[in-house]
């Protein structure tokens, strides 16, 4: 199976394309075909993973070339793939969580007349994401990178009759394109400096021979790409709007898999980043800023999906931070990425289940007391909640702890900020739990919350179990060991406080966050409508407005571009065209040739031929006489 591992891409790709061109007769079974395709990819991935596991450690990497993609002179790119410990984890995460979300969507999208198309897009997403993680060449990776961007665009805008959804889709694509400029330039730089875009060759050469300035430039350009895809500051503004997409999309693409691609990119490019301390520092700073910004946004949003989206930003900030720490953090970045994939997909699907029962209302101020109405959703969401805040024993406890430890190993202040983030995470997640499930009911009489069908709750249960148990990956240092062939040996810094002491400190901070939120949101009844902006603190207002990211983009980029465009349209008609026309008019004044457009145009053509012939004859004469 290892030689055929590329089939994980082909199966969902063929299924997705097939579903797109299949006519109405495909509507009845389209969703099943899509789900089976994803499941088949998972099985292939699982078998390949087991086979990889069975190999000796130094032989856990299978690479191959499907065909030559582009070859011209010095420019050569193979459609090359590599299945190694890092890509194997991603294949399992993408196809595993992906399949669960396919199953869930059968129920969630049951009443949508375009369900077949939805599954086609999901399949295409899976294919593109797998291309991204299996690519052994940066240009092939870029193919998957833009492929997931397209799938994301199509799925955010899936309900495109809603202007907000269409606008959000476009915004996501365009902001990602800004990041793509960085990616594209990085690949060009690779060709110019190293003559190849093979991931292995580039990293090995940069790590060994290239100058540090090349490594730094590559690192910063790749980071720009990563910021776009992973919604990191300053390209974060699209992620909250992306919640316009159907909730399974938010779970799969905008929480569990696609948005973590930036982290994957940094970890995959460890040869570059290890050789570029400046770029690594930039990664840490981006991660830290996003970690805190996302958490701040999460604290203030009443829209359950946007609160979760803020949380996603923040958690990816953790991963980014870890990835920026170099060999001390790579393995933990991936570890947190995997556990986050479990518990965040779980909670997003839980939120979808809540919306399903609440007539698609997303405002948590209209929720309350759903604990009783939706017991399965509550229980599974609760387990996800415990995982994300880092309750001892749950997956998030292990993965976040490792990152905070590693951050303290880097610097006290970085560690402190990461620690603070854990407290804020506990605060906003508790707020969300209280407002949704445990506080008194605030829904109106004509709303009848009900538990979702089995096809939706079963994936929830599976993901909840994974959220609880995901921590086993780190037992005995398994994940560090597993990833060692790719990211190198995980360095452990000696901290002033022993590891168990660190865990106690983190848990205490988390407890404070929980307690604060609990007391704030249970002390007085939650209002059915949000207090006006004027009545809340500056910080809350900033969080509600997503830290004014949209305003900044508007002022600095969108409006200037719009004005520039208008001015240019005006100038093109008046100045550029006018100049050339003016010139023609002048000529028309002085000779019969080039009359003004309104008169004698056919004659002018005939004349020009005459003039042309005359010139030829004169030249002939001139040469002959000379």
């Amino acid at each position: 199976m290892l030689d055929l591992v590329w089939l994980v891409v082909v199966v969902p790709l063929v299924s997705g394309l097939g579903l797109l061109v299949w006519g109405k007769e495909g509507d009845r079974v389209g969703h099943l075909v899509g789900t089976v395709a994803s499941a088949v990819a998972f099985v292939i991935g699982l078998v390949a993973f087991v086979q990889l596991l069975g190999r000796p450690e130094d032989d856990r990497s299978v690479a191959g070339t499907l065909f030559t993609w582009i070859s011209s002179g010095p420019f050569h790119v193979d459609m090359a793939y590599r299945f190694d410990p890092l890509s194997a984890l991603f294949v399992l995460l993408v196809t595993g969580v992906g399949t669960l979300i396919h199953v869930y969507s059968i129920g969630y999208m049951a009443h949508d007349e375009r369900r077949r198309r939805f599954f086609a897009y999901l399949n295409l997403f899976v294919a593109a994401m797998l291309t991204l993680v299996l690519a052994d060449d940066y240009l092939v990776l870029f193919l998957g990178w833009e492929g997931v961007g397209l799938a994301s665009y199509l799925l955010i805008g899936f309900w495109q009759h809603k202007p907000s959804a269409a606008a959000a889709a476009k915004k996501a694509f365009v902001l990602n394109r800004v990041g793509d400029v960085g990616m594209a330039l990085a690949i060009m730089l690779m060709f110019a400096q190293l003559g190849t875009s093979s991931i292995q060759a580039v990293n090995a050469t940069v790590a060994g021979q290239a100058s540090e300035s090349v490594a730094t430039a590559l690192g910063l350009l790749l980071l720009l790409g990563a910021c776009g895809k992973s919604a990191q500051v300053p390209l974060q503004a699209w992620l909250l709007d992306a919640m316009e997409g159907p909730t399974p999309v938010s779970a799969l693409i905008h929480a569990a898999t696609m948005v973590t691609a930036g982290v994957y990119l940094v970890v995959r490019s460890n040869g570059i980043f290890d050789a570029a301390p400046v770029a690594q520092t930039a990664v840490v700073v981006v991660g830290l800023v996003t970690l805190l910004a996302g958490a701040g946004i999460g604290c203030t949003k009443d829209d359950i999906k946007k609160a979760l989206a803020g949380s996603t930003m923040s958690q990816i900030g953790y991963m980014m931070l870890a990835a920026g720490l170099g060999p001390a953090g790579y393995a933990f970045a991936i570890f947190h990425l995997v556990t986050h994939g479990f518990f965040k997909a779980n909670m997003f699907l839980g939120a979808g289940s809540v919306m399903h029962g609440m007539s698609d209302d997303v405002d948590m101020r209209h929720y309350g007391a759903l604990r009783r109405a939706m017991p399965v959703t509550f229980a599974t969401f609760g387990l996800g909640y415990l995982a994300i805040i880092g309750f001892p024993g749950f997956s998030g406890f292990f993965s976040k702890d490792r990152i905070i430890e590693a951050a303290f190993g880097e610097s006290f202040w970085v560690g402190l900020a990461a620690l603070l983030g854990a407290g804020v995470t506990a605060f906003y997640m508790t707020r969300l739990m209280v407002m949704t499930f445990t506080s008194p009911k605030r829904w109106l009489d004509d709303v009848h919350p009900h538990e979702s069908p089995r096809v939706m709750t079963v994936p929830l249960v599976v993901l909840a179990a994974l959220s609880v148990l995901g921590g086993v990956l780190v037992l005995g240092g398994w994940i560090e060991h597993w990833l060692e062939p790719v990211v190198g040996h995980t360095e452990h810094h000696e901290l002033a406080v022993p590891a168990w002491g660190m865990s106690i400190i983190v848990t205490a901070v988390v407890a404070v966050g929980v307690a604060l939120a609990w007391s704030t949101y249970t002390r007085s009844p939650i209002a059915g409508t949000a207090p006006a902006d004027a009545d809340v603190s500056v910080l809350t207002r900033a969080g509600r407005h997503e830290l004014y990211g949209n305003a900044v983009n508007d002022t600095l980029v969108v409006r200037p571009t719009r004005h520039l465009t208008r001015v240019l349209v005006f100038l093109d008609a008046r100045l550029v065209d006018g100049l050339v026309r003016g010139l023609a008019d002048r000529l028309g004044d002085t000779s019969q040739f080039l009359r003004t457009p309104q008169t004698g145009y056919v004659r002018s053509y005939a004349l020009s031929i005459l003039v042309g012939s005359l010139v030829v004859v004169l030249a002939l004469l001139a040469v002959t006489l000379a």
Binding site: G73, V174, T205
Partner: protein, 526 residues
């Protein structure tokens, strides 16, 4: 001989179509005959491709007859990989265009016979231009293409067609005149050196002195820059494309405008390599301006046809940028781009044309929510749009990236500025798509029909090629590589060697990357 036959086929078709009765009853037969002629031409082009020896390179299937002895003018044809690629583009697109134009509503008192005949004449001339290996013959055919386009715009276009047709004509005539001066100059130069000649093979080794070379170059370049079109000579294009029928726009922008960029490669670079290098800083600057300027103007358009025209200004900027970088990667990218842009823009012009014909308006603000009633139309518009913004996996990406990567090795600022174009491209396509296809369904487009079978059949080949060449561009690249090698080595600039080449065989390295020896046994796994 085969190239002459190929070029004559559409001409014969045009003649037959002209002689057929101009009644409504015969219209269908007329269309079938025209389509059949274009399909025969396509079959012949494929036959030519099959006979073309890719490995051998150079000009093949040549024919040469003396035409005007005293002037040294020959009727000389031949194709290299670049010319053949464009012949293929022409013969692939014309049947698509004819099928798409099947139901075009023509102005009163205009017969479908002449409409289709002019298109076939244009096809014949285009094939001739791409095959001509005599500068004089090239010039004559180049100028002759103006006549069919002039009539196609002026007689069959929409409102404002006369103005647009004349503007088109005047712009291009001015360029043509400047080129004529250079053509005459070539005669003077070769006549003084011995026998006058216009044969490419004789001219490409010509040594004429720096000033003369530059002057001659400028004459050719002016004509090509207007044709391509390069900023600031582009303003005829939006007016022309804004009034022409979609079919005419495709023939004009996808095929005939390529004569401009093709001419730069074949005539400017081969005849005047020194002058081309001399002019390259300015040309590169104008190309970069074209890329950004065309994209910004496309964003600002409300007329969807003008929007597509401005996207082409931007794309032509990429093609010209690649040509004047003189690296193999960029030149091959530009050649491939000519083909891919032809497909992508054809799909875009035709599908927007179908929208416009249904709505009776080309204004973007007159649409909205069309996706709901016409999903197939909207899907193809999106795919064509994504190819225009060079999404990886679709054909134009490969060529655009090669142009950028090839440029980067020569001029980092030009490459960086040009790369910003990919953000603007996303804006002009997605804003247009958002405003026309998404959002609530506008009452005026409530009953807009989706594409019928004929329309899907017309667009399908373009769509299939756009996707197919996105993943498998190699057959075309194999075709153009030898010819590109010849052009690039003729100019003599070439690709700079990578500063720290990655040695795939035995590299010493530190860090966590797997031993490089592993890279050598990557075939198929273990």
């Amino acid at each position: 001989m085969i190239l002459s036959v190929l070029a004559a086929t559409p001409l014969v078709g045009a003649l037959v179509v002209t002689l057929m009765p101009r009644t409504a009853a015969a219209a269908r037969t007329v269309k079938v005959v025209a389509l059949a002629a274009s399909l025969v031409a396509l079959a012949l082009a494929l036959y030519v491709t099959a006979r073309f020896d890719v490995a051998a390179g150079g000009y093949q299937l040549t024919e040469q007859h003396e035409w005007i002895g005293p002037l040294g003018v020959h009727y000389a044809l031949g194709v290299n990989g670049i010319g053949l690629t464009l012949v293929l583009l022409t013969t692939v697109l014309v049947p698509i265009v004819l099928l798409a134009a099947w139901a075009d509503r023509l102005p009163a008192a205009r017969s479908v016979n002449s409409y289709l005949a002019w298109m076939l004449v244009l096809e014949a001339l285009a094939i001739g231009v791409f095959c001509a290996t005599d500068a004089f013959l090239f010039y004559v055919l180049f100028e002759a293409t103006l006549i069919p386009i002039y009539f196609l715009i002026g007689s069959y276009g929409g409102a404002g067609r006369t103005y647009a047709a004349v503007k088109f004509l005047i712009y291009n005539l001015v360029g043509g005149l400047l080129m004529l001066a250079s053509i005459v100059g070539l005669y003077v130069v070769t006549a003084r050196a011995g026998d006058p000649t216009y044969l490419l093979s004789d001219l490409s080794g010509l040594d004429v002195g720096t000033t003369t070379e530059r002057l001659l170059f400028l004459g050719f370049m002016a004509a090509f820059a207007i044709k391509a079109p390069l900023f600031p000579f582009h303003t005829w294009l939006p007016d022309a494309a804004g009034t022409a029928t979609p079919a005419t726009s495709v023939l004009m922008v996808s095929i005939i405008d390529k004569v401009g960029t093709f001419g730069m490669l074949r005539w400017c670079l081969e005849l005047f390599p020194g002058a081309s290098e001399w002019a390259s800083p300015v040309v590169i600057m104008l190309a970069v301006v074209s890329i950004l300027y065309g994209a910004l103007l496309a964003i600002g358009q409300d007329d969807v046809r003008r929007l597509v025209a401005f996207t082409s200004v931007s794309h032509f900027g990429f093609i010209i940028l690649g040509i004047f970088t003189f690296t193999h990667t960029a030149t091959a990218g530009s050649t491939l781009y000519m083909f891919n842009h032809g497909l992508s823009t054809a799909a875009l012009f035709l599908v927007t044309g179908m929208m416009v014909a249904r709505r009776g308006s080309a204004s973007i603000s007159d649409f909205g929510g069309v996706q709901k009633v016409a999903p197939v139309l909207s899907g193809i518009l999106l795919l064509a749009g994504l190819s225009s913004l060079s999404l990886p996996g679709l054909a134009p990406f490969v060529s655009e990236f090669m142009v950028l990567a090839g440029t980067f090795t020569r001029s980092v600022p030009a490459a960086v500025l040009a790369t910003l174009g990919i953000v603007l491209a996303a804006l002009y396509i997605l804003i247009m798509y958002q405003r026309t296809m998404t959002g609530p369904l506008q009452p005026e487009v409530e009953h807009l029909r989706d594409l019928d079978h004929r329309e899907v059949a017309a667009l399908a080949p373009a769509v299939v090629l756009i996707v197919g060449l996105g993943f498998f561009p190699q057959p075309l690249l194999d075709l153009v590589n030898p010819a590109v090698d010849e052009v690039v080595s003729h100019v003599g600039v070439g690709d700079p060697a990578p500063r720290t080449p990655a040695d795939l065989d035995g590299i010493s390295f530190s860090g966590s990357y797997a031993p490089m020896s592993e890279l050598t046994d990557t075939e198929g796994g273990h």
